[in-house]
Amino acid sequence: MADTPPFPSEVPVEGSELPGPYAVGEYAAALREKLRGFARVQLVGEVANLRPPTRARVYFELRDAGGAIACAMWRNDWDRLGALTATLADGAQVIVAGGCDYYPGSASASPAFSFSVSTLRVAGEGDLLAQIEQRRRALDADGLLERQRALPRALLPRTIGVVCGETGKAREDVLAGLARRGWAGRLVWAFTPVQDRHAAPLIGAALRELAASGEVEVIVVARGGGSLTDLLAFSDELLCRTVAMLPVPVIASIGHHTDRTLLDEVAAVSCSTPTHAAEEAVPLNCVDARLGLAVAARRLRDDARDGLIARARLLTALSRAPAAHVARHRRALHQSLRELRAASRRLAGDERARTLVRAGTLARCRDAAIRDCSVRRPAELERLRLALAAHDPERTLARGYALVEDAAGEPVTTAVAARAAGHLRLRFADDAVSASVEEG
């Protein structure tokens, strides 16, 4: 109020730096004027504490997860709402138009702040969807849409928590889904309202208690179908923040498959029906799992038996191996011996044939040699003797010729050689005489 002009009643007080003191009535009146000067706006929220209309005014509150504000309507404005006034009740989502006001009270009346509502209408689906979208963005910005999905989920939980209405069909559907899985563990029911403004805090409290018990491994939150307004509790921002921070996975099945609440967004899994949500809470089909275990046990037994039999066979084969080895080698040796004998026989036969051929050849050579020595060679010798005798110089000397030789007995066949020799020897058929070369 630093910009508030001094009030007529202002009387300076020494010892304080603050202005005043002012008369409270004057200050309250100035405050009212200040608040009335605020811009007129529209507000959206949930009606709470709607009190029966008085002769002049109607009082209620407007609330949401973030806060609340007191509202007041003049009776004539209220009456202009017509049939709506008969159906309007706590929990209704409304949009009001108006501005701030302040009743300054008096010496005998208490003061009161209120938002003076001039018109009111029930929030339409578009308004609510816009509001939900705004909350969704806020949750997303805080990273709360992914936290639940990152939680590990047990394949076969022993204890499951279920949050639902006590009388709704959701309860039966959950039981049907668990029966389909063949699951009959421990089920902890947390029955809460699933509609109206009390639902969200109670659902949130039930979820917190279930998780805090340390017993439940997964929680199903289930509710049947309804209008957007009916399901609005499941888009409560505080509830969704609670779910996002839970250490236990939450499986949501809110409304029909076309409905989408914020709880579906933050939950670990969102299902279209409570039956499916229950099946999702127990991913393992217990009946199939028993069959699977029986198969696995049989395979283990068979593997063990087959392994032992295979190795026993191997050992037996190995124990027989040396005898079999010797027998195999003996057979091989016998075969080699047979082949060797056959080869030897073949070789001897061939050699004999070759020897006979060689003997025949030698006999022929011998006969030829005999013929050669006895017939051909004497004839040839005679022919040669005669030819040689024809050339014998002695026969020429006998016919009267003389042979001229030098001192060494070498024939001298030319005059030049005779002159060079000087002394010659003339050999006649009967004897030889010496001669000297004289040139006349």
């Binding site: 394949l155 421990r186 089920l187 279930l210 217990c286 799992a289 593997d303 063990a304 392994g307 032992l308």
Partner: protein, 78 residues
Amino acid sequence: MSEEPPQSYEAAAARVEEIVRRLDSGQAGLRETLELVREGRALIEFCAGELDAVSGDLEELRLDELVARLESEHGGAA
């Protein structure tokens, strides 16, 4: 071979699958085969026990009953 008790059904079931695959491969020696079969049997018994725990009669209780039971247990323990 894992001598630690399994932490959960899924861990045990996954290990049994692994064991069966190993045995089916035919690469395990005799000693390993016998050890794997022994481990596999123990795991199957564990899994069967887990299934037995959720295969009797459905036990239903309300949240406040669970809370009261837990409080009495803690009180008794204290």
